[in-house]
């Protein structure tokens, strides 16, 4: 993953590298061209000057010889010697040869201009030579300079980038952080930083709008759950009391009694679903009383005592292993709900004569119970999500566990291992 701002940095850096690299030969060619043109011009000027001076006076052959000799000593670049054949016009040449004054450099490049002139009827050849920087030396110099500049450029880019990222993009990253920490079930408003940048302003505005709509939808859903569950309580209470009264009627046949007791099971399920919805609504709405310091093992023991009959009826074997004492800071009702949900799930879903193990180790409580098939993991802690095909449940037990755990920042997990369903909670 690349950070947004590093992307252009890479591209800019790469582009600068290409441009600077291609600039090196171009610079070399241009510098070389300028060098040569200037030297040719300088040579030509020297030639013209020398020619004029030589022709303006009468020099004997011996004079010329002397001049050449003096030149050779004083200014080795210029020479005048007798020539025996005529060359049509001035010519420019280049030569590589060792430089006597520069023993470290193997060979130097010389740029020369050759011309002829007549003195006293004799044809003389005059050459003017100047030392030129070799192009490979120019290349090296240019390359060093260019690469130095490239490094400076990249360092500058990085610094600028960091600066820009810190300043201009700060609101963006702040927005990102606010979004990351936003929790629909806890926060009502999203707080976004102020920004002068048009795009960020637009972004924040749209986000606020979106969040506001979500919060409203969430609130509606919450109040629906709350209202629905409260509205259902009375009819359920009525059904229960009518059924109790009906049982008291004289003259009920065994068939009618059978039917009546058949109503109890679905009615308790309805009642349980509704109670669970009420609990969920309460946790969601933070309508939970003050937390207290509670001993987890005490609560587990009292849940076991509560469900003792069901455990005996299903002939489950129970194994308890508490390695330490654990106190948690939570609302007693919620802790009780959480633990009874774990335990009642284990009791109900374990086949008759199965094993239920409860272990407490450090801050982790593990409920494991024997089972045949792994439960469907996906969405297992969500409301009314099917965890297996053939179980009748309220569909809310695990959702309540998850909701309570979330409220207190506890971690719940499920796995299936060696024929055991393992639910763990880390307080």
């Amino acid at each position: 993953m690349t950070r947004l701002l590093n992307k252009p940095l890479k591209a800019f850096g790469f582009y600068a590298l290409i441009i600077l690299l291609t600039s090196i030969p171009v610079y070399v060619l241009v510098v070389d061209y300028i060098w040569l043109t200037e030297l040719d011009e300088s040579n030509w000027l020297t030639l013209q000057h020398t020619k004029e001076k030589l022709q303006s006076r009468e020099f004997t052959e011996a004079d010329i010889l002397k001049i050449n000799q003096i030149w050779g000593e004083l200014q080795p670049g210029v020479s005048i010697v007798k020539s025996d054949h005529k060359i049509p016009e001035d010519s420019i040449y280049e030569a590589m040869r060792p430089n006597e004054f520069d023993p470290y450099d193997s060979e130097d490049r010389f740029r020369g201009l050759k011309s002829q002139l007549k003195i006293n009827g004799y044809l003389y050849e005059i050459t003017i030579e100047t030392n030129v920087e070799e192009s490979n030396e120019t290349l090296l110099a240019v390359a060093i300079v260019t690469i130095s500049f490239f490094i400076i450029l990249i360092l500058g880019f990085i610094l600028l980038n960091r600066n820009i990222s810190l300043k201009s993009w700060r609101p963006f990253y702040q927005t990102l952080n606010s979004l990351k920490s936003f929790d629909l079930s806890k926060d009502q408003h999203l707080k976004l930083p102020h920004s002068d940048i048009e795009e960020f302003k637009e972004l924040n505005k749209s986000l606020l709008n979106l969040v506001e709509k979500n919060v409203a939808a969430y609130e509606r859903q919450k109040s629906f759950t709350e209202n629905a569950s409260h509205e259902l309580q009375t009819p359920i209470a009525l059904l229960k009391s009518k059924l109790d009264l009906l049982l008291q009627e004289r003259g009920l046949t065994p068939q009618i009694n059978e039917l009546l007791s058949g109503i109890h099971a679905p009615l308790s399920r309805l009642s349980r679903i509704n109670k669970n919805l009420v609990v969920l609504a309460k946790v969601e709405n933070n309508q939970i009383g003050e937390p207290e310091y509670l001993k987890v093992t005490d609560q587990i023991n009292s849940s076991f005592a509560l469900f003792e009959d069901y455990i005996i009826a299903k002939n489950h074997s129970i194994e308890q292993k508490f390695e330490n004492i654990l106190n948690v800071h939570a609302n007693p009702f919620l802790l009780e709900t959480l633990l009874t949900n774990f335990l009642s799930n284990a009791i109900r879903h374990t086949p008759n004569g199965g094993n239920i193990k409860v272990q407490l180790k450090n801050r982790t409580l593990i409920f494991s119970n024997s089972g045949r098939n792994e439960l469907i993991h996906k969405h297992m802690f969500e409301r009314f999500s099917p965890t297996s095909k053939n179980q009748i449940t309220s569909g809310l037990g695990l959702a309540i566990i998850k909701e309570i755990a979330n409220k207190y920042g506890w971690k719940v997990a499920y796995q299936f291992e060696n024929g055991f369903h393992i639910f763990s909670i880390e307080f």
Partner: protein, 224 residues
Amino acid sequence: MKILIIEDEASLGRDMVKYLTNEKFRCEWVSNYVAAMEKVGNYNYDCIVLDLMLPGGDGLEILDALKKLQKQDGVIIISAKNSIENKVAGLKLGADDYLSKPFHLAELSARIESIVRRKQFDSQNLIIQNELTIDLRSKTVEVNKNQVILTKKEFDLLLFFVGNKGRVLSKSAMAEHLSGDYSDMFDNHDFIYAHVKNLKKKLKDAGYGDYIKTMYGSGYKWQQ
């Protein structure tokens, strides 16, 4: 004995009156705050069944008024607001018990019995039924002066039967009585059979008449 039922849901109010009324209890029922205040102010009751959500006022205020009037009426709160806060607030204001809706009428009846018993001045903590004597304080049972050793659950069930004499008790109501609010997490309450069977056997062995009748398909009934 007089029982006042304060419940805004007419149908439920009438059901309670119907279920609770017998040779021992006389029930009155009011459905709103004003009527309830009037009754509470003018008469004394052995037990008041109080719904907290009432048209015209908060049920907790009635409790408060009772306290100010220094009345000794027993109060059992029944509320759809299944919340601990309500329960705590109610009990603090002097309520004797709390039952959250939905509940079995048998449970309500047993709880009222228990409150009334506690409120009686001549309370010896003894329930005497023919040859049966139940000592509530020491939680012991005697039949013809012979002690019968019962488990805690059998003892609870016995009290439940005594609080619902002559009425058919469903397995579901008995399971709820024993396991509390969480019994509806389970569909099968067959363990009740075992407890009742043991209770019957122990009482019978000690010489008590066979008063617990099995109502085929529906539950049990204490019949004398």
